[in-house]
């Protein structure tokens, strides 16, 4: 490990060897090839799926160009969110200010696209040149009658996590603004699911079968009007990628809505996500429906999984994903198909997450925070992993070194949540780990 960056030593530990608590939540070291993005990225990820809103990125062209429709968040209706709007600042604005340009951009876009609301993301440079984005948003709100919400997400102002917070703040401004709505019995909001490859639709279907009513989804397949009335729901279900827990807490304080953390990956966590809701509503009938649903799903899923498990038994996996909670679910999901986790890490985990991971994993498992290609490749070699689970930036590392890869981030186009997702996951892992192509690379 000699060539690793020295300052990072306490962000890496090996289960069974190191007793220390992992260090995390630190800014990345200068000069590292971190896999992390920025504050803006965090905000953009969270708000992106709101499909009937205009998302305008205020800054030079890059931030918008690189995030144009890269996520797999689907909408069942409008598709405005898939367009990438930017004020594309030029030197003139950098010198003299970009407020006028922002104003004009907003007016012409709103006139044309008639969105239900608009989010304006301030990127790094806007923070430096000092545009009063909030004032411009207020003015446009006044003049157009739609909510234009500033998202002050200058990239340098913290980490991706801070971006989540800012996005939640933006949502909080909308929540509670529809005062006419009354929710039916057993109403929930789903928080922190982004409807990647239509996953939300699956979840909504499960809950519907249990007799649960969905008020708003934040933000997968989200709609401005649903978010406005979300304060009327009886329960918030938070997919704990960490991105929306802040909002759930705020809604609890402000509107008294309790929340529960769940994960939809792997059958144990998915089933718990259903049972817990029935428990919360104290309805035996609902619990019965949930049990039936799970039984039905498993009666299809488990036999289908068996053949993959047989092939994958004893294979080793390395996990490096954005959120640590996802990593936790993945460790369980991998176990279900017979695989062992030998490396696990995340970009944004906190101490509790890492402690839980440490508890769950076998001795010798490497646990790491905010890693980089150098380290990751070293870890997979050391541990002899057969599979890497990560995002687009990790994919070529895995392939280059001759191991299978499974994409598990915001950009994926395959549904991996729920029971159907578990089967997709097993299929994908099998297709990669057991492909004959690796014989040429060993």
């Amino acid at each position: 490990m000699d060539a690793f960056i020295n300052d990072r030593k306490n962000q890496i530990l090996t289960k069974g060897k190191d007793d220390a608590t992992i260090a995390c939540g630190k800014a990345s070291v200068a000069g590292s090839v971190s896999q992390r993005a920025c504050v803006f990225c965090g905000s953009r990820v969270v708000l992106y799926p709101i499909a009937d809103a205009l998302h305008l990125i205020h800054g030079p062209v890059g931030c918008a160009a690189y995030t144009w429709d890269i996520r797999g968040a689907l909408s069942s209706g409008p598709q405005i969110h898939r367009l990438s709007f930017t004020t594309d600042l030029k030197e003139k604005e950098v010198v003299f200010g970009g407020e006028e340009r922002l104003y004009k951009a907003l007016i012409s876009l709103i006139e044309t696209y008639k969105p239900k609301g608009a989010f304006v993301y301030a990127t790094c440079i806007v923070g430096v040149i000092g545009d009063d984005v909030e004032a411009v948003c207020r003015r446009v709100t006044r003049e157009t009658g739609i909510d234009v919400i500033p998202v002050m997400s200058e990239g340098f102002n913290g980490t991706k996590k801070d971006g989540y917070k800012i996005a939640c703040g933006a949502l909080a401004k909308l929540i509670g603004t529809d005062t006419t709505y009354e929710a039916p019995e057993y109403s929930i909001n789903i928080l922190g699911d982004f409807n990647l490859a239509g996953e939300l639709w699956m979840l909504a279907e499960y809950y519907k079968k249990m007799g649960v009513n969905l008020v708003g989804a934040m933000t997968g397949d989200g709609r401005i009007d649903d978010i406005r009335k979300a304060h009327k729901a009886h329960l918030n279900i938070v997919q704990c990628s960490g991105s929306m827990i802040g909002l759930a807490k705020e809604m609890k304080e402000k509107y008294g809505i309790p929340f529960m953390k769940v994960s939809y990956f792997g059958i144990e966590d998915m089933s718990d996500a259903l049972y817990e809701v029935a428990k919360f509503f104290k309805s035996d009938e609902m619990m019965e429906k949930a049990r039936t649903l799970v039984k039905e799903e498993l009666s299809v899923l488990l036999p289908a999984l068996a053949q993959y498990r047989q092939k994958l038994e004893g294979k080793k996996a390395a996990i490096y994903v954005g959120g640590a909670f996802k990593a936790i679910s993945l460790v369980k999901a991998l176990r279900l198909i017979g695989m062992k986790t030998v490396v696990v890490g995340s970009q944004t985990g906190n101490v509790d997450d890492y402690n839980l991971l440490k508890e769950m994993c076998d001795d010798g498992t490497i646990i790491v925070d905010d890693s980089n290609p150098n380290e990751l490749s070293e870890f997979v070699k050391q541990t002899g992993a057969d599979l890497f689970i990560g995002g687009v930036k990790e994919r070529p590392i895995a392939y280059k070194l001759g191991l299978g890869f499974c994409d598990h981030n915001h950009e994926r186009k395959e549904a991996l949540a729920g029971y159907e997702g578990m089967l997709n996951f097993a299929k994908e892992v099998y297709a990669s780990v057991c492909s004959p192509v690796w014989q040429f690379m060993k």
Binding site: S28, A37, C63, E91, S108, G155, F156, N374, K381
Partner: protein
């Protein structure tokens, strides 16, 4: 169940850019720097820029792309990035042991006025480390020009940093521009077959298109060595592809009158190395022009193999011409690529009805007129276009074919028009980095694809289908 993004056919001027047909300057600079041997690029600014740029490049090249960031925080943004710059260099040296460290700035570090050159100077002065790497810096604020301006700026910075004068040699310099890794390899074969010693800058043909590895390579093999770049000043000539180059960086300048020049420009002015500037060799005419220059410089004739390639290409022009004559194409992407591609389509009888770029030079129309003798006068050429403008325009002027990168896929899908993918980026196919464009062989590949796209379209839309051409 899925709606298309709303179709807007207004002629309204949007102040906003809607789906930009360009990228930002540090991306181009990073690609160019990746073509120097042993080089690790550092993007001096906040973390997001480098992560996004890496992600974007990885998607196209399907390779690990290590680019470091100096990871600005709020503090650096307020008090300047000197400390981050120094820490970044130290950490990169520690981890990568690079031969070259290349710093490229972002909008942010430029705006707060970071003097990267001075930071590096101080670093070199104070450093206790033995064997410091060589340094090169490029100034790449994205509010001045696009990724192509960044690319050429980086090439020119590397030349300025390393090239020396000296007695004239027989070797030549070749500045290929932002082309595919396969294009770079093809160029190298051609030059070698001609018997040239040459310096190609940049050369990312290996660094961004590697074979498999046994263990992770911090720095992939390949790239132009600094020692070779040093000899650029004593070359017999330079050949530079592109006629627009980084001209876009000059438009809209407010405060900085520093004129951008290309690497070849600089060598000509500074060391008297004659520069042959020409469009990218796509198509017979453009490639002939390139070959003629090589013949002139070397005093030798084109090797037989390429005569045959040329002959075969023209033969296929005859075989395929009917299926494409008069078809209407839309070409889009970076400016020099659009100029060359339009020239090629012009010479095979396809009517380019729109040539569009997000580039800002304002010279696209003139260059197209100058290089497309068949229909150049009638081609609508648009600078500072974005994909939504292209989309709106295409809804009214239904083209038969799109030629360009993968980003217009959604428009092609909506209009049910085939798309021939070429250029950068190709994000929805494998092998995008290996697509051949240049020379007779590259043109051959493109020609076959264009004709076959038309034939397939016809087959797909024929009520019975047919098995013979």
């Amino acid at each position: 169940m899925f709606e298309n993004a709303p179709i807007i056919k207004s002629t309204k001027e949007f102040t906003a850019t809607r789906n930009a047909c360009k990228l930002c300057a540090p991306l181009g600079a990073s690609v160019a720097f990746k073509g120097i041997r042993g080089c690790v690029p550092i993007i001096h600014g906040s973390q997001g820029c480098s992560t996004y740029i890496r992600r974007y490049l990885i998607s196209h090249f399907k390779e690990p792309v290590d680019i470091a960031s100096s990871n600005f925080t709020e503090e650096a943004t307020i008090f300047g990035g000197a400390a981050n710059c120094h820490a970044a260099i130290t950490n990169v040296i520690g981890q990568y042991k690079p031969e070259v460290v290349a710093m490229t700035t972002t909008c942010l570090s430029e705006t707060i006025g970071d003097d990267v050159k001075m930071y590096i100077h101080d670093f070199q002065k104070d450093s206790q480390l033995k064997d410091l790497p060589r340094f090169v810096t490029a100034s790449t604020p994205s509010y001045q020009g696009s990724h192509m301006d960044g690319f050429h700026e980086a090439v020119s910075s590397a030349v300025k940093a390393f090239a020396k004068g000296g007695d004239k040699g027989t070797h030549i310099n070749i500045f290929p521009g932002f082309v595919s890794t396969e294009d770079l390899r093809q160029l190298k074969y051609l030059l070698s077959d001609f018997g040239f010693q040459f310096v190609m800058l940049p050369d990312y043909s290996e660094t961004l298109d590697n074979p498999i590895w046994e263990s992770y390579k911090r720095i992939p093999e390949g790239g132009t060595p600094v020692s070779a770049i040093e000899t650029c000043g004593s070359a017999a000539a330079s050949i530079e592809f592109g006629t627009i180059l980084n001209y876009g960086a000059l438009s809209g300048r407010v405060k900085n009158s520093r004129l951008s020049s290309t690497g070849a420009n600089y060598l000509e002015n500074e060391f008297g190395v004659k520069n042959y500037r020409m469009p990218l060799p796509i198509g017979v005419k453009n490639t002939d022009r390139f070959v003629k220059a090589l013949e002139e410089i070397s005093g030798k004739e084109m090797p037989l193999r390429y005569m045959t390639e040329r002959g075969r290409l023209i033969d296929s022009y005859a075989d395929g011409h009917k299926y494409i004559f008069g078809k209407k194409a839309v070409v889009y992407g970076e400016e020099d690529f659009v100029v060359a591609m339009t020239t090629f389509l012009d010479e095979i009888g396809i009517e380019v009805i729109l040539a569009a770029t997000g580039g800002e030079s304002g010279r696209l129309a003139d260059e197209i007129k100058a290089n497309c003798p068949e229909r150049g006068e009638q081609i609508l050429a648009k600078n500072m276009f974005d994909y939504e403008k292209i989309r709106e325009w295409c809804i009214d002027n239904k083209p038969d074919l799109f030629v360009g990168n993968s980003k217009a896929y959604y428009i092609a899908r909506e209009l049910d028009v085939p798309i021939v993918r070429c250029g950068f980026p190709i994000h929805d196919r494998i092998g995008g980095q290996r697509i051949k464009h240049l020379g007779y062989a590259g043109t051959q590949d493109l020609f076959d694809q264009v004709v076959n796209a038309m034939i397939q379209y016809k087959q797909d839309h024929s009520p019975v289908g047919y098995k013979y051409m």
